[in-house]
Symmetry: C2
Subunit: 303 residues, 2 copies
């Protein structure tokens, strides 16, 4: 089961140095989720060959423009291209007013169902669940109400040991039971123990998205042991004053959170335009946490 | 005095084939005006090296997203980059509500003055005037209230004939009077006739922007004898039914309007994504009006 994150933008505030504002496509077993949607995200979805018509759920962390100005364009492009399936947007409540006002002044009746789920920044909340994944929002501390999101893949089924099941005299419908760990009886009446012909499911993986936020140890409980942690790192630590003033984080602080959370890998992004070369941010983060990657546009990170 | 139009986007509805939604920068004697502002216009302003901090007036023809979704991003980018001078937006009244709502939810207090002037689609209205230009809005017929805009350069001053004034025994301050057509007296007491040492000003030029609109002969009176006419040509005439249904024009209709208006040159744009090669639209228009150009992104057209 694939679980990966495609970076569609990771610059802070404005587009610069060929970098664009925040957006990510998260693929879990070929179900696509869009995380934030800065201006021009629809162009990046095409550019990086994301199957954007498979996105049915969009998550908006907060209502600063660099995280959502591309949403209304995406919504109306879906409409122009005759989207059929429903689309659900998880975001602060006011986004619904903004989108509905814009649809109303253009006299647009969408040809698909558009739903809004208002996020709350007071605590951990499960906002979505299907057979593959649970998605939670949790509070971040920024200048306006902001949430992070945690994607927790569900424990999968046990995996058949092909070489062992190949010779069994059983129906294919029995495979499903075996994968669920249920012992079965073959056509000769012999018991087949699931334990003997299957192996444990792959460990369920998790991804946390934390942008924008000031350094906040309270989030560690929500993201404990996460496999991949995206944490904003707008500034170097020599600009800590600026980070505090704007309620952003430094690369060092992002690494400190990753360490406290016992994350496997840290992905940093939301880079200030003041940095042309990003390796200095990565180097700084590595002083506190070894496994750090830069969220470079177009790159795909496996969880 | 320069007077030119830079095309920043001329595709209809969505970005496709490397073409972007409508936006144009109009330069009149180094004063810049922005006409419409589809998503991503701020990127095109940079790409085509328009001096975008010199734009003090923005005109929005109507509130379909492909004509204004890039505006809120431009407004907030100006703010992040500490714009000082005021910015005035001429647009249907509801745009003010949309922008103010978006600024309000992000808790943004702009560091510059932002003014809105509500356009009316009932008649010709002068919306702006300075020492170089008069700008008028006039009604177009589309699915929602829409206006075109007419830029009329003012009659300039007479031009000095350098070879004739060089030998005159006069003060430089007299040049100004001569250019205004006023006769003066030289230092020896001789009359110098303005007529003898100056030539007529260059003819004042005009530019009309008509997008989006169905075929509408009523606009001819507003744009009569215009030097450069931008008229939408979303479809070929074999899609006239579709043009009528969506209240757009065909290339042939755009040319018919140019002919009736006695325009010098016609610039067609707002191309449907169904056309990859645009020359067929130009060819069709040329059957009714000879001087037709395609509004290709990045190209600059002198008025």
């Amino acid at each position: 089961m694939n679980f990966d994150v495609t970076i569609l933008g990771s610059n802070s505030a404005i587009s610069e140095h060929g970098r664009h504002p925040t957006a990510q496509a998260i693929n879990i077993s070929n179900q696509l989720f869009l995380m934030d949607c800065g201006e021009g995200t629809q162009e990046r979805l095409l550019q990086y060959k994301v199957k954007w018509f498979s996105i049915n759920h969009i998550f908006i962390s907060h209502l600063h423009g660099d995280h959502y100005f591309g949403l209304i364009g995406l919504i109306t492009t879906y409409n122009l291209l005759k989207r059929k399936q429903s689309l659900t947007i998880f975001a602060p409540a006011q986004l619904k007013d903004i989108v509905e006002l814009q649809l109303s002044v253009s006299n647009t009746m969408l040809c698909y169902e558009l739903n809004f789920v208002a996020t709350k920044d007071d605590d951990l909340h499960k906002v979505f669940e299907n057979d593959q994944v649970e998605i939670f929002s949790f509070p971040l501390i920024h200048r306006i109400p902001t949430t992070g999101f945690l994607f927790k893949q569900k424990e999968g089924e046990r995996r058949l040991l092909i070489e062992k099941v190949a010779d069994l005299d059983i129906d294919k419908s029995d495979y499903k039971l075996l994968k669920q760990g249920v012992d079965i009886t073959d056509k000769k009446g012999n018991t087949v123990k699931a334990q003997d012909v299957t192996e444990a499911a792959r460990a369920a993986r998790s991804y946390a998205f934390c942008s924008d936020t000031m350094y906040n140890e309270n989030i560690v409980e929500y993201i404990k042991d996460v496999d991949l942690l995206y944490h904003e790192a707008t500034y170097l630590h020599d600009s800590l004053d600026r980070a505090i003033q704007t309620k952003h984080s430094t690369a060092l602080q992002a690494a400190q959170i990753a360490k406290k959370a016992n994350a496997t890998k840290l992905l940093i992004g939301h880079f200030s335009s003041r940095y042309y070369h990003l390796s200095i941010l990565q180097d700084e983060a590595k002083t506190a946490f070894e496994n750090v990657e830069l969220a470079i546009e177009g790159e795909v990170f496996s969880v």
